[in-house]
C-alpha cells in the first residue's frame, strides 16, 4: 500500500540503440521525502530521470502516481517539474522574466516569498541570465523548477555549483518544499550532501538498481562496518563488483 501522491516506478527500462541504459529499475518516491539517486558516472541517472519525467521513451516498465499510470505528455507535465543537469537558462532573458514565467506556470500555491529569500533571487532580478555566475544561475534555475509547484520535483545534479554556505540555505528550502506534500527526486554526486538532505537513496550502477531504501536499511544491506553513506556506497559497489 502506497501513501497518496506517491510516484511508483516499476521495472523501468530505457534502451538506446541495442543497449539498455536503464534496466529493470523500480522505486517509490513519497510526498514529503527526498529521494537521492546516486551512482558512479555513466550509471544512467540522467537517462532514468528523462524516462521518468516523460522526456525519453521507455521501452519497459511503468510510471504511475497514486496508482494512475502516466501515459500522455500532459499527464507527465501535470506531475513533474524537472531541472536538467547542465541546462543553460536563456542568457538573453532577464532573471525577472524567468521568475515571472515560472510563477505564471505554477500549478499550486508555493511559498514563493520564502523561496525567493532562501535562494536570494531578488538581488538578481534586474540582471540578464547571461551575466549570472554559476551559483547565481543555478539558484535561478532551481527557483524556476521549485516554483512550478508540481507534485514531483526531479532535480538532476542540482547542488554541485553551490559553496557550502549557499548549500546550507538551498538544502533547507528543498527540504521545506518537500515537506509541502512534494516528492523530490534528485541525483546528487556529493554523497555527503546526499546524506544531509535525502531520506531515501536509490543506488544505480550500470543502469541497474543496486539498492534502494533509507540509510539504515542500506547499512544493513552493506553489512556491519559502514557508517556514512559514502562507506555504504563503496561497500555495496565493491560487493556488486565481486559478485559480478
Amino acid at each position: 500500500m502506497t501513501s497518496p501522491g506517491t510516484l511508483a516506478v516499476r521495472s523501468l527500462g530505457v534502451q538506446i540503440g541495442a543497449r539498455w541504459i536503464v534496466h529493470d529499475v523500480s522505486f517509490d518516491a513519497r510526498p514529503g521525502d527526498i529521494t537521492a539517486v546516486i551512482g558512479p558516472n555513466g550509471a544512467g541517472k540522467t537517462t532514468l530521470f528523462e524516462g521518468v519525467v516523460g522526456l525519453r521513451a521507455v521501452q519497459a516498465g511503468s510510471i504511475s502516481i497514486d496508482g494512475r499510470p502516466l501515459r500522455a505528455f500532459a499527464d507527465f507535465a501535470r506531475t513533474f517539474a524537472f531541472l536538467p543537469d547542465a541546462g543553460i537558462l536563456p542568457p538573453e532573458a532577464s532573471v525577472h522574466t524567468l521568475v515571472e514565467h515560472a510563477i505564471s506556470r505554477s500549478a499550486r500555491p508555493v511559498a514563493l516569498k520564502r523561496l525567493r529569500e532562501a535562494l536570494a533571487i531578488d538581488p538578481l532580478l534586474s540582471k540578464l541570465a547571461g551575466v549570472l555566475s554559476r551559483g547565481e544561475h543555478q539558484r535561478v534555475a532551481l527557483f524556476s523548477t521549485l516554483a512550478l509547484g508540481r507534485p514531483v520535483i526531479v532535480l538532476d545534479e542540482p547542488f554541485s555549483t553551490f559553496d557550502p554556505l549557499q548549500l546550507r540555505g538551498v538544502l533547507s528550502i528543498v527540504r521545506e518544499i518537500a515537506a509541502e506534500s512534494t516528492a523530490v527526486l534528485a541525483s546528487i554526486h556529493q554523497l555527503s550532501d546526499a546524506q544531509k538532505v535525502a531520506d531515501r537513496f536509490l543506488i544505480l550502477v550500470d543502469g541497474k538498481k543496486l539498492a534502494f531504501g533509507d540509510l539504515s536499511s542500506l547499512r544493513s544491506a552493506a553489512g556491519e562496518g559502514p557508517v556514512s553513506l559514502e562507506d555504504v556506497f563503496v561497500s555495496l559497489l565493491e560487493g556488486a563488483s565481486r559478485a559480478s
Binding site: 507535465a77 536538467p84 541546462g87 538573453e92
Partner: protein, 437 residues
C-alpha cells in the same frame, strides 16, 4: 511569451541578420530607383511611354526581391533560433513540462520566430515609404498585396525552419534544413533554364516563387494564398510532431506523415483554384469592367485551344497578358495547349494548323491566328452570340519620376546607412548587458 521574445529579439545575431538583410533590400531598392529614374527621363517627354512607368514592377518588385533573397538565405537562421537554442542549452524538455504542452511551446516559439523574421520586412517598408516621401508614387493597396506575398513567404520560411529545429539538435542543422527548403524552391524555378535540373520541371507547382507571382502583380489570388498558408501550416505541424515527446517513435513518424499527406492534399487542391482579385490601381490587370461583367454573364464553359509551341513568343505574350486577364474575369475558362503533348516543336513543321486559336463559348466556335487581347475577347462574345461590351477602361497614366540629387542621396543614405546601422545599434543596445559581469 516575454521569455521567448527575449531569446529571439535580444540576440545579437537577430539584429546582425536584419542589418545584412537591410543592405540586400536597400541595394535592390537603390538599383530599382536608378533604373526607374533613367527610364522616366525619356518617358516624361512622351505620354504614351509614361503609361509604361509602373512603380509596381519598377520599384516594388525589385525591392521585395531583396526581401525574398534575405528571407530564403538568412530567415532560417533567425527563425530556427528560439527553438534550436532551447535544445542546444538542454532546457527544451523542462520548458515543455513547465508549459504543460508541446503545442503551447511551439506556438510561443513560432510567434517569436515570426516576429524576429518579420524584421526582414521592415527595411522594404521604410524604403517604400521613403520613396513616396521623396515624390515617388505607390498605390497603397497593390503595394500591400505585394508585401502580403512576402509575409506569406516569411511564414513558410519560418515554418520550415521551425520544423527543421524540431527534428534536429543544433541551430546549424536547423538552419541548414530551412535554407535547403528555400533552395529547393529556387531549384524548381531554375529547372526551366538548366538542363541538369530539367528533371525538376514536373515539380513546378511546388515552387514558392511561382505561387508568389500574382502577388507581385497586385493580384490577390485565392489558390496561392491557400497554398502558402497550408505550406506554413504543414511546417508548423511537422514542428509540433518533431518536437513532441512520445513513448513510441512510430507514433511520431505516423503523425508527421499524416501532417505531410494532409498538407500535400490541400496544397494540391489549392493549386488549381484560379480565383483572384485585382487590387491593382485602376484595375489595370483586368479587362475593361464592362467586358469583365459580360464575360461573367456568358453561360456555360469558355474554352480556348491554342496551337502555339511553348517557346513561341506570341504564346508567351498571350500567357502574360490576355490569358491572365481572361482567367481573372472567368476563373473557369479552360485553355488547352494541344501542341505541348508533342516532343518536337510543331512550328518547324510549318503545318497549316500552327498558330490557330480556336475559341468555344456557349456552343459557338470561332477561330483566329491573332493573340490580340481585344480580338480574342471579341471572338468569345461572338461565339456566345453576343456583341462585345464597351471596351473603355480608365487609363493608367503611369508615374514616371526622376529621383536625383539630394533626394537620391537621402534614399541611398537610408538604404546603405541609416537602416542597417539602426538595426546594429538596436541589437547592440539590447544585448550589451550580456557582456557585463
Amino acid at each position: 511569451m516575454r521569455r521567448e521574445l527575449a531569446i529571439a529579439l535580444r540576440a545579437p545575431v537577430t539584429w546582425l541578420v536584419a542589418a545584412v538583410a537591410a543592405l540586400l533590400v536597400g541595394h535592390g531598392f537603390v538599383l530599382a530607383c536608378d533604373l526607374f529614374s533613367a527610364s522616366s527621363r525619356s518617358a516624361l517627354a512622351s505620354t504614351l511611354q509614361s503609361r509604361e512607368m509602373d512603380p509596381l514592377p519598377g520599384i516594388v518588385r525589385p525591392t521585395l526581391g531583396g526581401v525574398g533573397l534575405a528571407a530564403a538565405l538568412l530567415g532560417p537562421l533567425v527563425a530556427a533560433r528560439p527553438l534550436s537554442m532551447e535544445k542546444e542549452r538542454g532546457t527544451y524538455g523542462a520548458l515543455c513540462l513547465a508549459e504543460g504542452s508541446v503545442l503551447r511551446v511551439m506556438a510561443n516559439k513560432a510567434t517569436a520566430a515570426v516576429l524576429a523574421a518579420g524584421l526582414l520586412l521592415i527595411p522594404s517598408m521604410v524604403l517604400l515609404f521613403a520613396y513616396r516621401a521623396v515624390g515617388g508614387h505607390l498605390d497603397l493597396l497593390e503595394t500591400s498585396v505585394a508585401l502580403g506575398g512576402e509575409v506569406l513567404r516569411l511564414l513558410v520560411v519560418v515554418a520550415a525552419a521551425l520544423a527543421g529545429a524540431a527534428w534536429t539538435r543544433t541551430l546549424a542543422q536547423a538552419a541548414t534544413v530551412g535554407i535547403a527548403a528555400s533552395l529547393t524552391s529556387w531549384a524548381i524555378d531554375a529547372a526551366e533554364g538548366f538542363a541538369a535540373l530539367a528533371w525538376l520541371g514536373g515539380a513546378s507547382t511546388w515552387s514558392i516563387e511561382r505561387q508568389l507571382v500574382p502577388f507581385g502583380r497586385g493580384l490577390m489570388p485565392v489558390g496561392p494564398s491557400l497554398w502558402l498558408l497550408t505550406a506554413a501550416g504543414t511546417g508548423f505541424g511537422l514542428a509540433w510532431a518533431g518536437g513532441s515527446f512520445v513513448q513510441r517513435a512510430e507514433k511520431k513518424i505516423r503523425a508527421s506523415l499524416g501532417v505531410l499527406v494532409a498538407g500535400a492534399l490541400v496544397m494540391t487542391s489549392a493549386g488549381p483554384v484560379r480565383r483572384a482579385y485585382d487590387w491593382t490601381e485602376g484595375g489595370r490587370a483586368s479587362l475593361p469592367p464592362a467586358v469583365v461583367e459580360g464575360l461573367r454573364s456568358i453561360p456555360g464553359r469558355i474554352e480556348l485551344d491554342v496551337y502555339l509551341d511553348r517557346e513561341d513568343s506570341r504564346r508567351r505574350q498571350a500567357e502574360a497578358d490576355t490569358f491572365q486577364k481572361l482567367v481573372l474575369a472567368r476563373p473557369d475558362v479552360t485553355i488547352h495547349m494541344p501542341l505541348d503533348r508533342q516532343e518536337r516543336p510543331a512550328e518547324a513543321e510549318r503545318g497549316e494548323g500552327y498558330g490557330r486559336i480556336v475559341v468555344r463559348a456557349s456552343g459557338g466556335v470561332r477561330e483566329t491566328r491573332s493573340t490580340s487581347r481585344r480580338e480574342l475577347t471579341t471572338l468569345i462574345f461572338e461565339a456566345a452570340g453576343r456583341s462585345l461590351p464597351d471596351w473603355s477602361q480608365p487609363s493608367y497614366r503611369g508615374f514616371p519620376v526622376v529621383i536625383e540629387g539630394a533626394r537620391r542621396g537621402f534614399l541611398v543614405a537610408l538604404a546603405y546607412g541609416a537602416i542597417p546601422l539602426a538595426f546594429l545599434l538596436i541589437g547592440l543596445r539590447l544585448s550589451q548587458r550580456r557582456t557585463v559581469r
